[in-house]
Subunit: 424 residues, 2 copies
């Protein structure tokens, strides 16, 4: 990790620069697959499953027998862990439920908002090296709490047509029974446009590689909502003399192992901890199964020494990290200065992996600086808040001339008439 | 308006089809303007102001003297109306404030969400035939309540370099003092990328023509958030025998006058009201200053007769109208069946224009069927909800093995180590 001591503010943009990913080159090939699935449905889905995933799929939907087999085969300790995580995520997301309180803005003018579930949502869980069953909890649990009527899940199978049992167990426990063995661009297309087997949905959630990301961008232009724009995962750690260098190193590495393009940043006010963290990173790295990936991510990672907590938070707010760990004695005070971050971890005993799996917060978070304007996934992501108003005749009398005057000034006479006629 | 009696469900998609707007053809020319402003800043902004708006701009920012002059020149009755509307919108949007309650998901595992204002936001108010000062209230008020630190507003001036006094008065009353006389694509570019005069923002709000809409789509791909995708405005009215045909006609016309591409739909269970509404539409239309626009919109508009309220709501939920007026005796019961709509107006005394101006609800709403997955603008649109977690050592002990088991099963050993090391 490169160390930068007391850089000038003018250097910050360069220091905090993220790698730029341009999907434009992929748009044509991804667009062609989307169009093919839109036109040819399941047949096109099967064709691409054969081509990309080397699998000959008969039924696209996972059968009840497959769910039962997954539950029977899974390690009981892992089942218990999944259920514990599910409990915590449910508790936190249920607390986000709102009731629409009625506000009388003037006598006889009642207004309220009502959260109404998005009727049809699609969740995408990538395949690849690790089965991301934790993401099923993070997306499926709020979808169920929100009351979405149709929740479907697409995830690629292996070459034998099997889905990892932890994925099926997590889905079943959450209450998702419509799981399709479809991956990649063809999965996004199937959920966006519908096929004979897969119903069309209104919003698509979930992580994916650059092809999936590009597909989500394109179907979003076509009117299907998506959870948020995507980018490589990242963590920033703010640490002072009260941190434990071994813990900080472990947190940096747990981000670095995600992928060679992961972002890792250590910001500190305390020069003395830097050497200790570096030594711990080196020592812990050597023992990791994914050490090559982590080492690659660390090459682009930075340690930045700053003067005080205020400068630290200015820098971190400029960076807008997906995950921010605050391992400082004044963690609670510092937390109040956070403007831009996805999720914040306070103190020495709150590793990022707690939020990744089981503290209860959501791990689907804004990367790539999007934390300046986007929130992570929450119950809100699965509802619309519809506004209502109900005016009595007296209410309209109170407010009528205001509407008439404003409508006339905007040159919209029919808007005015709609009031005038009612008050005649 | 075309009348369809008891259409089969299979005909609904055709009946409810909206005009398709494809911005692809504009992307090159809009992209060129965006790139020019990004590169050449104020000089490019001035060039396009000259080219498109025929105005030679010296200062881009509205001066304090211009604000004062606007306030002095504006009709006192209009000022009073603006202040009344402002009051109601403030009351409704303030009630949307949330405090982040701390949830203990397990002993020693505390999680909470905190709404934090988006630091920098840009509001766009189009010029053209009518000064849309009401939209300043709808966007500026929640931005101020949220606590956004930098709120800027762009709106085109007339050829003399003047902004309509109602626009400046509304901006000043809301608390916006940074108003720039910039319109069109160049305004979106200036706010997205920043120029010498205009600061760069994280999220852009506001309506506009197809060029502005295309510019917002393109800067959104570049990482700047936008309020929501745009389309022509629309209303659906559900009416039964308790409706007043003259009121229904007035509501249909107040939508139709927005533009020739506006959408107007009447759904009814009561054949008897159709003739009355049609007669009232014809009679009221004749007196409207914008009758040509409204007549054009009505050409594509439909009256659909259905069997009962249940069928009506199935049809309306399939349409997902921006505005839904329920002029029925069971309006409250019917309101509960709404799944897809932007804003709902209940009873005979709740015209759409009440919500457009002054009831307190927001008038920036999802059009074009986006109400299936998007909410209208609210206080939420101006904040991120950052999640926090703080675990004690005991908390991590409670949850540690869950995290370790899940991380190991996902093949992420460094994630597991971050816990193991802390519990050693």
């Amino acid at each position: 990790m490169l160390v930068f001591e007391y850089p000038e503010r003018s250097q910050w943009p360069e220091l905090l620069r993220r790698p730029v990913f341009d999907n434009t080159a992929l748009e044509t090939s991804v667009g062609n697959i989307l169009a093919d699935v839109r036109q040819n449905g399941d047949a096109a889905v099967r064709k691409y499953a054969q081509q990309f995933d080397k699998v000959q799929l008969d039924a696209l939907a996972v059968s009840p027998a497959e769910f039962a087999q997954a539950a029977a085969s899974l390690d009981p300790a892992l089942k218990k862990a999944i259920l514990q995580a599910k409990h915590n995520i449910e508790v936190f997301h249920k607390a986000q439920q709102e009731s629409g309180k009625v506000i009388e803005t003037m006598p006889g003018v009642q207004c309220w908002r009502k959260p109404v579930a998005i009727e049809k949502v699609g969740l995408y869980i990538p395949g690849g090296s690790a089965p991301l069953f934790s993401t099923i909890l993070m997306l499926g649990i709020p979808a169920v709490i929100a009351g979405c009527k149709e929740i479907i899940l697409c995830t690629p199978s292996n070459a034998k047509g099997e889905v990892h049992p932890a994925v099926l167990y997590a889905a079943e426990q959450v209450g998702l029974d419509r799981v399709y063995k479809i991956g990649g661009v063809q999965a996004i297309a199937a959920m966006a446009y519908g096929t004979e087997s897969v119903p069309r949905v209104h919003k698509i959630f979930g992580p994916g590689n650059q092809y999936v990301t590009c597909a989500k961008q394109l179907i979003n232009k076509d009117g299907v909502a998506i959870d948020m724009p995507a980018g490589p995962s990242e963590v920033a750690v703010l640490a002072d003399e009260t941190c434990v260098p071994a813990f900080v190193a472990a947190d940096l590495l747990s981000q670095a192992e995600h992928g060679p393009d992961s972002q890792v940043l250590l910001v500190t006010t305390t020069p003395d901890i830097i050497k200790g963290v570096q030594e711990q990173v080196a020592a812990q790295l050597a023992t990791l199964p994914r050490k090559d990936i982590a080492a690659k991510a660390l090459e682009n990672s930075r340690i930045i020494l700053v003067r005080d907590n205020e400068e630290a938070m200015d820098l971190l707010n400029a960076y807008a990290p997906e995950h921010l760990i605050v391992a400082c004695k004044d963690d609670i005070t510092i937390a109040d200065a956070v403007i831009n971050a996805g999720s914040v971890f306070l103190g020495n005993y709150s590793p990022e992996s707690a939020g990744d799996y089981a503290s209860g917060t959501n791990h689907t978070l804004p990367t790539n600086g999007y934390a300046t304007a986007y929130s992570g996934v929450s119950l809100d992501s699965f509802v619309k808040k519809i506004t209502y108003q109900r005016l009595t005749k007296e209410g309209l009398q109170h407010i009528g001339s205001t509407i008439e005057i404003m409508a006339a000034a905007e040159g919209l006479d029919a808007h005015k008439n709609a009031v005038t006629l009612r008050l005649k």
